[in-house]
Amino acid sequence: MAETGRLTGNPAPALSPVTLLRAAIILGVLAIWEFLSHSGWLYRDVVPSLLAIGRALLELLTHGEYYFNLGVTTAEVGFALLVGGVAGVAAGILLGANRFLAKAFEPYLYYLGPTPKIIFFPIMIMYFGVGPESKVALGTLSCFFPVALSVAAGMRQIDRVLIRVGYSFRANTWQMVMKIYLPAMRHPIINGVRLGLGVALIGVLLAETKLSNKGIGFLIIQAYSIFDMPRMYAMLIVLFVLSIGANALVGRLGGLHSIKRT
């Protein structure tokens, strides 16, 4: 949660010492990289030259094939987030509202949450086949737990006095939900969705690398199998940029800044 604010932290003025240091670090890393790639100290192709990576990046982004696969993966992650997110919010509300249910079932969620979900992939293939459905299923399973746990905790952490304020102004049930409970839980829900997005993405992509014939995960493992390292680097770079961007976007959409609390 602490990194939330920092991700979108205050921009420093141009050419401040921080900006200079950042530029220096980036340039330094690139220079070392380029030096290594020409030195021949490492296995050939493990560190391809920047030019090769750049060319691969350009080729990747100018071919329709990449966008088709990106679309497949995006759709899979989207479905997983939708199904797992809705189920997670529902379960979270149930557990957050009912102390008994929370005591009975939350320990299971709490301890199952961090187990590696990819090990369920063989079962998902049995249930849903080798197509995109099994990837969606794995993503859904991954994303359910953080969303449910985050929403349940968020619901319990609502400041009780805000609920009393609502009742004291004679708000009806609908008004209580729309004007008090949901806005008060916006922070934990958005945080849950962010965590859920992250693990759904990992679940879907890993499943694609294991067994599939389309999607970004498939492209990465394909590049590995023909040792096309520049292409693999190019895809990892795009993937990292996209996922970090998506994560920041969810945070921004949720208006994490406008909620200020001392």
Binding site: D159, V161, L162, R164, V165, Y167, S168, F169, R170, A171, Q175, K179, I180, P183, A184, R186, S258, I259, K260, R261, T262
Partner: protein
Amino acid sequence: MAAPSSTNNAILTADHINVRFETAEGPVIAVDDVSFDVKQGEFFSVIGPSGCGKSTLFNVIGGLLSHHQGTIKVGGETISEPHKSIGMVFQEESTFPWRTVTDNVAFPLELIGMEKAQRIERAKHFIGMVGLNGFENRYPGELSGGMRQRVSLARTLASEPKILLMDEPFAALDEQTRLLLGDKVLQIQQQLKQTTLLITHNITEAVQMSDRILVMTYRPGKVKRIVDIDLPRPRTSEIVGSDAFGHYVAQIWSDLREEASRGMRDQEKHVMDEGASS
């Protein structure tokens, strides 16, 4: 202006209120047979040591707690849930952190379906009344504790309650802010002729503002005495220095002192018991 003492212009009546809680250590009587009435336009305070059941009484009058015996009547109507004539200001920080000052104050107007332009206008009026002009579009997180409590007050005033019910609204503030805010509340109360019921443990505050003060005993919370405060109005915090003021404070302190020390002994005993049992 001395408070009129005939009972038929009472706007709020508490009649033989009893509240008990079941705890792990057996039942606790929080409020024991408390009766009083508050008259139209009167500033009435309930004072008592911590743990005397003041906050329980607050919740019963506000209609947030309904497992009491006895009746609370507002304008002759018995209360079993929050009543539209009563506006509550809570002790805790209770502004909505996700709403701006204006939207916080407009909240009760939004609930009754008032049009947007109109409710913003009304909200502005009450924001001005508590002296927060210029902060309309700020979020509570950007304000100080005293300012946030003024937002809560404006929000409650915006619902135009017949009775303003406040539970130690200044308890979390420092002494200077508390005095200045007290002035603000007095000024608003005198301006609106607002019937006000204040729950507090602060003697100065109670004497400074009230027409009458009900002193409660420590556990079970009974009525120890009801004191008429015959000080001239309009008042401000400057009254604190006067002889008459000191006289009232001393009188109430002598009542409370005994109760408060009983409460303190009780708490010490409790800590000792817990220490022994663990």
